[in-house]
């Protein structure tokens, strides 16, 4: 993802408890404008509405939104599919609005998506990030992603990208990890339900 370069000093950080943040899986058309607004705000190049639809219609269970007091403050949009004989997940967009950063929201959003990917049989997860995006690189590094390759001048602004990759352990090799991931299933399935009529969100 290419991020905005202008680092406006807007929005002082907000005080909140981690438990105040509510995570929901993509629940339908009413979530689309929320996701679009967030992503358009933070990523430099606007995505077409078709791009969003492509992701959220085909893989609604891989997209999550974070709400604080009814406001959408973060989102992750993903996909998965066969790629050269491996089943791989792909993180397309990840955004947390400035006042809410540094509190683990992005980590939680991505973690939820990756867990669903694991359950769906993904062997690996990938994404691209600008080589200058320290925050995202640190975040994904902590989750176990490696920088698999560098893409020369990937962005039209001439900046290189890293392809980040997370190799998921094969269950027979490391059952303990999969179990750990499965333990949180209840949580996941709850939030996986479309929040029908959850108008308190906005």
């Amino acid at each position: 993802m290419e991020t905005k370069t202008s680092e406006e000093a807007e929005g002082a950080s907000v005080e909140f408890e981690p438990s105040d943040i509510e995570y929901v899986s993509y629940g339908g058309e009413h979530h689309l404008p929320l996701i679009m607004r967030l992503v358009d705000q933070e990523l430099s190049e606007p995505y077409s509405i078709f791009t969003y639809r492509y992701f959220v219609y085909l893989w609604p269970h891989l997209s999550f939104l974070a709400f604080h007091k009814g406001n959408c403050v973060g989102t992750v949009v993903c996909k998965m599919g066969e790629h050269r004989n491996t089943f791989r997940g792909y993180i397309a967009m990840l955004v947390v609005i400035k006042p809410y950063r540094g509190k683990g929201i992005a980590t939680e959003l991505v973690t939820r998506s990756i867990k669903v990917m694991m359950e769906s049989g993904c062997e690996e997860v990938t994404l691209e990030a600008e080589v200058t995006n320290k925050g995202a690189l640190a975040l994904y590094g902590r989750l176990g992603f490696i920088r698999a390759k560098r893409l020369f001048r990937y962005y039209l602004n001439g900046v290189d990208a890293f392809r980040l990759k997370l190799l998921l352990p094969r269950p027979e090799i490391n059952p303990a990890l999969l179990m750990a991931a499965n333990n949180d299933n209840s949580l996941l399935h709850d939030s996986n339900k479309p929040p029908e009529g959850s108008s308190q969100h906005y």
């Binding site: 993802m1 893409l151 352990p169 991931a181």
Partner: protein, 755 residues
């Protein structure tokens, strides 16, 4: 559909029989209904009609379908010209005309550099209306000759880059609809498709529809010379009249303001001369087998001095820019700071595929000059290359050359020098090169070995390797990782073949004996190349910043393993080559004893030994930090270090480079590392000692001396850090340890700070 209802034809039947299973049906009403139903932003999605299919139907850059296209005020070049966007002359005031012509020249330079740096030709150099309609400019000799040489230069540069095509990677995002498609989307809709179409050189050489070749471009130099001659006479005349020596010749001045005559003449002359010499450089370097290099170097020197004059014209031109005082020219594409006349990047934006016609930023004039300085220095390095016949020397040269991060045009020139017509320097058959490298003394004549499948393949691999080494670092690393597989397959084949030869020929005939020797040499040489490629692959990972500090430990460990193998293979090869050197002077049967006696270790192997020590030292220091200080570890939610090990070394492991290496082995060799033993047996001290001893062996090689100095420094710093950490003990939480690459791009030094 458009025909429907036209001319009041009879209405079409609802369906037309086609064959037993199919009929033709008119779907227009259905489509019309669907169109009425669709709202803005909606899209049909069906099982066999995906978003990608829909997007593929859109014509990017068609203003009707791509609403993101940058609209020019004009629909065509002709319209722009009619509207006076590119007047000839540029002004009826001859002073202004000259000023504007200089601006055009400057902007051209900026465009050219921007093109070299990776934008399309159509949006850079060919955004010039004058260039797009070159014939129009013929009444204006100055502009005409300049445009012509610009065009010829572009064509010459394109030809080098396309000759040297290695499909250097540059994935560019696809543009969809009126938005940029996010890059992740391109991944999902088939990055392979993009990969194949958007390589760095492809983008570079893309010139569809541009009037790149024109009649008479071969005369561009003589035209330019004529114009240069006129202006230098004008300059002489002006100098003569100002020094009151009287007018030498009766010459009409360049423009009307006589106070500015000298300045403008000079500003033009250096610009014209730069063009002339640059074109000569390209032509000289084009000569096969480096025959034009000597002359090319002279032109490079002239180019550089003209560039300096161009730069110095800044003061004069900036001051005279429309009377106004010199404004900020840092971002400007001209020395005067003015906008040039006659450029419109959006006019031929439809030719810019595959990059969408979004406005691009042209490099500033100052940056363009810097770019050309670097390019010329890089070209000079190539021209001064001794054209070493030994592969080892070539590999070293290329790696050294790449250190300064040359851009595409320079790298393409190097590649074209190294490989032409499948031969080294377009001169030496690869087989000879390999035999020389593998220290094969007597190649069997007419044995057909040159034509054997394996040897042919080996030659192909060597050629590919050279080409890959000329690409940008990111692409290079990916390719090196991939070709390892091919090299190791060849190795296995060679091994089998040499065993077979042996088995099939119990009574050793001389010819067979020779060919056995050959395959033994080739085997050793191939192994050496494999480990050389692997070590380069691992080291490039540092230069590309692909490893995180928590991964350094395993990377240095792997590097250590690979370097040991490389040193062994190198020693073997050098052993066999000194064996040959001796054979020539001695009787054959003396050989075995001698070899054992003076098996001195060659300096090259000792140099590798230094790196082995550094790698091992860093591995153990990092391991001890992990074991005792619990730092540089990374527990992660979704996988373990083992997965990261597998990912980083996947390509090496798949090629069995080396065999029997596993994560378990890494763990075993590092899990007991601790500082108390490390300080007693210190790898860094060893590295330092060997490096010092080696100085005399490399006393005439300045690059090697620099390398030795680096090794000593890395060793020294790490040795000190090791002691500090050891003394402080694991309990000291105030110790902040980090790794930096301040003395070597791949070998880090530990820095210890107290917080």
């Amino acid at each position: 559909m458009a025909e429907r209802g036209e001319g009041g034809d009879a209405p079409l039947p609802a369906s037309i029989y086609s064959d037993e299973q199919t009929v033709w049906a008119d779907v227009s009403p259905l489509l019309e209904a669907a169109c009425r139903d669709l709202r803005d932003g909606e899209l049909i999605h069906g099982e066999n009609f995906s978003l990608f299919a829909a997007m593929s139907a859109l014509e990017i850059m068609d203003p009707k379908m791509d609403s993101g296209i940058e609209h020019s005020g004009y629909h065509s070049i002709e319209e722009a010209i009619e509207d006076g966007a590119a007047p000839i002359p540029l002004s009826f005031d001859r002073t202004v005309d000259v000023q504007c012509t200089i601006d055009i020249m400057d902007h051209f330079l900026a465009c050219e550099a921007t093109w070299h740096k990776g934008h399309s030709l159509a949006q850079t150099v060919f955004s010039c209306i004058y260039l797009l309609r070159l014939d129009r400019t013929s009444p204006h000799a100055l502009l005409h000759s300049y445009c012509r040489i610009m065009r010829a230069t572009c064509a010459a540069v394109i030809s080098v880059v396309s000759d040297a095509r290695t499909h250097e990677g540059r994935v560019v995002r696809l543009c969809m609809g009126h938005y940029w498609c996010c890059m992740d989307f391109t991944t999902c809709v088939g990055l392979s498709f993009l990969n194949s179409m958007s390589l760095e050189e492809d983008l570079f050489t893309m010139a569809y529809g541009l009037p790149l070749k024109g009649e008479g471009d071969e005369k561009c130099l003589s035209m330019l010379n004529a114009v240069e001659e006129t202006i230098s006479r004008q300059l002489r005349a002006c100098k003569a009249s100002s020094s009151k020596k009287g007018i030498l010749e009766n010459i009409e001045p360049l423009q009307t303001n006589l106070d500015l005559e000298e300045g403008y003449c000079k500003a033009l002359l250096c610009r014209l001369r730069f063009r002339k010499h640059f074109y000569h450089v390209l032509m000289c370097m084009k000569k096969p087998q480096g025959r034009g290099f000597e002359l090319a170097r002279k032109h490079i020197a002239s180019c550089l001095s003209e560039l300096a004059y161009i730069y110095n014209s800044l003061e004069f031109l900036g001051f005279n820019a429309y009377g106004s005082c010199q404004n900020d020219i840092e971002d400007s594409t001209t020395a005067s700071g003015r906008q040039p006349v006659g450029f419109d990047a959006s006019l031929n934006s439809r030719l810019a595929a595959p990059t969408p016609p979004r406005a691009i930023k042209i490099l500033s004039w100052k940056k363009a000059i810097k770019y050309f300085e670097k390019l010329l220095h890089d070209l000079d390095t190539i021209c001064s290359f001794s054209m070493d016949p030994l592969l080892e020397g070539i590999l070293r040269f290329v790696v050294q050359f790449q250190k300064s991060q040359p851009d595409l045009v320079a790298r393409a020139h190097l590649q074209r020098l190294l490989v032409q017509d499948g031969k080294l320097y377009g001169r030496d058959p690869v087989f000879d090169v390999i035999c020389r490298a593998a220290a094969v003394s007597d190649v069997p004549k007419n044995s057909g070995i040159q034509k054997s499948e394996i040897v042919l393949q080996l030659g192909q691999l060597a050629i590919n390797l050279l080409k890959i080494l000329c690409t940008n670092a990111a692409w290079q690393r990916r390719k090196l990782g991939k070709i390892l597989q091919d090299w190791s397959v060849i190795y296995v084949q060679l091994e089998l073949a040499s065993k077979r030869d042996f088995a099939e020929t119990p009574n050793i005939l001389t010819d067979v004996n020779v060919s056995m020797k050959l395959s033994k040499h080739l085997l050793i040489w191939t192994e050496e190349q494999i480990y050389w490629i692997a070590s380069r692959f691992l080291m490039l990972g540092f230069e590309l910043d692909l490893y995180s500090p928590t991964e350094y430990c395993m990377v240095y460990w792997y590097m250590y393993v690979v370097l040991i193998k490389l040193a062994e293979a190198t020693q073997l090869r050098m052993g066999t080559s000194s064996d040959i050197a001796k054979r020539k002077g001695k009787k054959k049967r003396d050989l075995p004893k001698d070899l054992a006696k003076d098996s001195q270790i060659p300096p090259m192997v000792l140099l590798l030994q230094c790196y082995i020590c550094l790698s091992e030292g860093l591995t153990m220091m990092l391991a001890a930090l992990r074991n005792e200080h619990k730092i540089f570890q990374r527990p992660s939610a979704f996988n373990t270090e083992e997965e990261r090990f597998i990912q980083h070394f996947e390509l090496l492991q798949r090629a069995h480079v080396p065999g029997h290496i596993s994560y378990m082995l890494f763990k075993e060799s590092t899990s007991h590392a601790q500082f108390s033993t490390l300080v007693r047996y210190n790898y860094f001290k060893d590295a330092q000692r060997i490096a010092k001893e080696l100085r005399s062996s490399f006393s005439s090689d300045s690059d090697r001396l620099v390398e030795l100095r680096q090794i000593e420094q890395v060793a020294e710093h790490n040795w000190i850090a090791l002691n500090v950490i050891c003394q402080a003990g694991a309990e000291d939480p105030s110790l902040k340890i980090s790794f930096e690459f301040s003395h070597h791009p791949c070998f880090a030094i530990a820095t210890v700070k107290r917080s």
